[in-house]
Subunit: 110 residues, 2 copies
């Protein structure tokens, strides 16, 4: 299996890792929104919360893309953002892991 092709086992590992990152992302966001909501004391803060949710919604909608062709990049971003540990991808082909780890060290994913 190379970077582009995914075996059934790899797909299983990828799916599980993907879901883990997603759950962490959602839980982090829920926590953040609760904290923001509890610190609101004026109308502007409400609209700041609204702007924040607009941006995060847009980001999350685009981020969790499960197409094989982009999955390496999605995982690199999730590792970069601390939502996934590279160890949670163990079992993937070595080339994939090396590429994900290298890409994850880059900045400016968004």
């Amino acid at each position: 299996m190379n970077e582009v092709e995914w075996s059934d086992t790899e797909k299983e590992i990828a799916k599980e890792a993907f879901n883990k990152a997603y759950v962490r992302e959602v839980n982090n966001l829920i926590k953040e929104v609760r904290e923001l909501a509890n610190s609101i004391s004026e109308l502007n803060h409400l609209w700041q919360l609204h702007d924040f949710l607009s941006a995060r919604r847009h980001e999350i909608d685009g981020k969790y893309d499960y197409r094989d062709s982009v999955l390496i990049f999605v995982f690199a971003r999730l590792v970069n953002e601390g939502l996934l540990d590279i160890k949670e991808l163990e079992g993937l082909n070595k080339d994939k892991l090396i590429k994900i780890a290298a890409l994850a060290r880059m900045q400016n994913f968004t």
Copy 2:
């Protein structure tokens, strides 16, 4: 002074009532958003909160219109929604008060 013209005294009364309603509206909304935020347990609830804020932002932006020509209707709506008591408009010309009270009894302001 008739329904359209506003004396300086009426303008003072209007401004104070307008601000009172606005503060109540904002405080109600802050309370509601805090409650919603604290009941969030999944991503869909976050997007529901986002949709709710989008709708309320649009509504509030259009609602607090301080132009003399529409102020009668704005006050009628605020009374209708319980954000203002008709007594808080005492001192306005009688014709204005009658019109506001009559309009406030109507439904479907939005």
